[in-house]
Symmetry: C2
Subunit: 417 residues, 2 copies
């Protein structure tokens, strides 16, 4: 090894939620873990994040749930309303019955808060965190991964976790696909909560569903901040313009909505717009000793609020599957690692593909108009609070999260996920 | 009175289902009734007709239900399937529980058979039935209605029931509206049942729902005939062509449907196409001593199969409201009759308007595609067999059918219908 080369059991590329979670999971198994991040500081842009119980359980296993609950909010209900009429369509009470069923609460937390919790946990656990590292290329040589940084440094590792997000460049090792624009644009904002905001609404996650638009609102930081997300279909995207979804389109998109929705638009930051992308599911995330995780592997639309949640699930499954796998810098664990990555991929692909696909359909159901809206509202209203048939597949203890080693993943298990 | 003038208690204009039912209802109350029909023979075009319990109860009160059941079929289930996948979406068992709930069975019968039953009943009851009478004009003079026939004959009556159907000319006395084309065209057919047709399907009313098309199939004449109706959105209507919905469009409209649906198209007669119309609800059907009934008053799209059924309800309500009202050819009952017509209109309008509007929405829900189809299928599948929440308003004993006189119709009753 030259003096530009460092060796580690696990190299993680990317310091977002997925990278930090993956690093922490592998460190929990005793691996030496190095995480490299392109930016000069660790951080997370964006506003609020909904953490469903399937992800909260992962925080719980790492002893981080209490920290998250300390800074986050445990909403009382998840409420859907029609944005044109204001009518309530359905609600899910998120109280003790819900928490008992899924083994963890539903919480909302600022993205930067969750990111900091994971970062601190990685730091405390002994993950080596390095900024300003741009990885140009990854390859597998003699059963070990090698990542070549732009500055000439080389990182060797038994396993490389590729966690470089939606616009992943590492993904080119397994697919030549690209992000798929959804024509929808988000504006976000967090504002201090004032008396002007109806108090009842500060305990719930409220989603207003409108034709080609929706608005999500919930409290953050122990109820001190109000988080608002407005997502609408951009007419300029439809016209084929490259710079689409400007703030000029924002008000217009909500003009037919009830005052509660229109008034909420003033809580948005307008300096930044977020075009919404996902990708088609791909069934192979493994190239030699590199495996993609999080958005790099399975970027999804935000409608199920599962982007970060599925990244946490990835980490938990990887932790379970690699538990007991011996780490070495001499390549002696070659076959065991190949099997771990193969099994991880096989176990996670059906689930994340289902979430990706369902998020698309779910989002479409939010944005229908005319007859579709009539049907959507009837369907939602036919669902009683506490009917878990639409939640269990996503929030429940799926087989992918409970098996302890590769041996537990039979073909039947995978297909049943 | 000149020798061209005849006098009668009730004059009915139009010898379709509505006219015959109205004539019979008034005759049951002891009125002298004359029915005039423009055509030179009484008869009914079309194929099968679904008679829901709300209408079967009317036949029952007239002692005609047994005749209808003798020639008709009592289907075992009402089944909805997706036309693209063949998947069953929902079913309603039409057995004893259903019949007990609604006080009558659900039956299907050839239109011409039902028409003949009503015609024979009118004849037997002593209704004067006259063909080849074209009414040019109706007016009210000195508290009596006068209908002027094209041949110079004049009919005087205390009450005139205008039952000249969808294309009603009598309606011009109360509205200058016209029929509203739906862009959908129907082809119908009845064929002898052969062994080639799956036996299971011969006991049910089966509706296949597809994007911009549907197909309905049920047995007729004690199971000897198979009735098929195919309804699709005409591309040439969309293009603004006057002669739309030709047979060239038929096969194409169903090209993506399952073989069961495509094969059923060969059971259709192709010499006649039926463009589907309705009208906007209007709240006044009364002009002097004439009142519109049936399609002349409230033509509706066929999706709830209520055209003939609502005409029978009209007749039953008119019978109840006018029971005991004294008929005279001297105009002495003027005020009582005005009140009967006013109350009939007030009682029936909310109900028939609801059926008209619901038929439109219901039909739209049959023809959705994409996300709308996903939502529709989920909604339909969420409904269990024997869940009557979507049936009660239509098939149940509505207030409009049970009050016995005008005094029973309070404002609350009417608004609750």
């Amino acid at each position: 090894m030259s003096d530009r080369t460092t060796s580690t059991d696990v190299l993680v590329i990317g310091g977002g939620m997925a990278g930090l979670a993956g690093a922490l999971a592998m460190r929990e198994n005793g691996a030496s873990v190095t995480l490299v991040e392109r930016a000069s500081e660790f951080g997370e842009v964006g506003a609020g994040l909904q953490m469903s119980p399937n992800a909260a359980r992962v925080l719980k296993r790492w002893g981080l749930l209490d920290q998250a609950l300390e800074i986050g909010v445990r909403p009382k209900h998840l409420v859907f309303r029609d944005a044109l009429s204001g009518e309530e369509l359905t609600r899910q009470t998120l109280g003790s019955e819900f928490e008992e069923r899924y083994g963890a609460p539903y919480l909302v937390i600022h993205r930067s808060d969750l990111h900091r919790i994971l970062l601190n946990a990685c730091d405390k656990a002994g993950v080596t965190l390095i900024n300003d590292v741009m990885i140009d290329r990854v390859e597998t040589v003699d059963g070990r991964g090698r990542a070549y940084a732009h500055n000439g440094d080389v990182y060797q590792a038994d396993v490389i976790l590729g966690a470089d997000g939606l616009k992943s460049t590492l993904r080119s090792a397994v697919s030549d696909d690209g992000p798929v624009p959804s024509a929808f644009v988000a504006y976000r904002g967090t504002v201090p909560i004032t008396d002007a905001i109806p108090q009842d609404d500060l305990e719930d996650v409220i989603v207003y569903l409108g034709p080609n638009c929706h608005l999500v609102q919930y409290p953050l930081r122990k109820g001190e901040l109000l988080n608002t997300v407005a997502v609408f279909k951009s007419p300029s995207f439809e016209r084929g313009e490259e710079q689409y979804g400007g703030v000029d389109e924002l008000e217009k998109a909500y003009k037919d909505c009830v005052p509660e929705v229109r008034n909420a638009l003033k809580n948005l930051g307008t300096s930044m717009r977020w075009p919404m992308y996902d990708r088609e599911p791909i069934d192979n995330w493994v190239a030699g000793r590199m495996v993609l995780i999080g958005d790099a592997a399975h970027p999804m639309l935000q409608y199920l609020a599962q982007g970060a949640c599925q990244a946490l699930e990835d980490a938990a499954v990887l932790q379970d599957l690699s538990k007991g796998t011996v780490f070495t810098d001499l390549g002696r664990t070659s076959e065991a690692w190949d099997e771990v990555l193969r099994t991880f991929n096989a176990a996670r692909f059906p689930r994340t593909a289902q979430v990706q696909r369902t998020a698309r359909i779910w989002g479409e159901s939010w944005h229908v108009s005319g007859t579709g809206r009539v049907l959507r509202n009837m369907l939602f209203k036919s669902r009683g609070d506490g009917n878990y048939q639409y939640n269990d597949w996503l929030y429940g203890q799926s087989p992918a999260l409970v098996f302890a080693s590769a041996d537990d993943v039979s073909n039947e298990t995978v297909s049943a996920i």
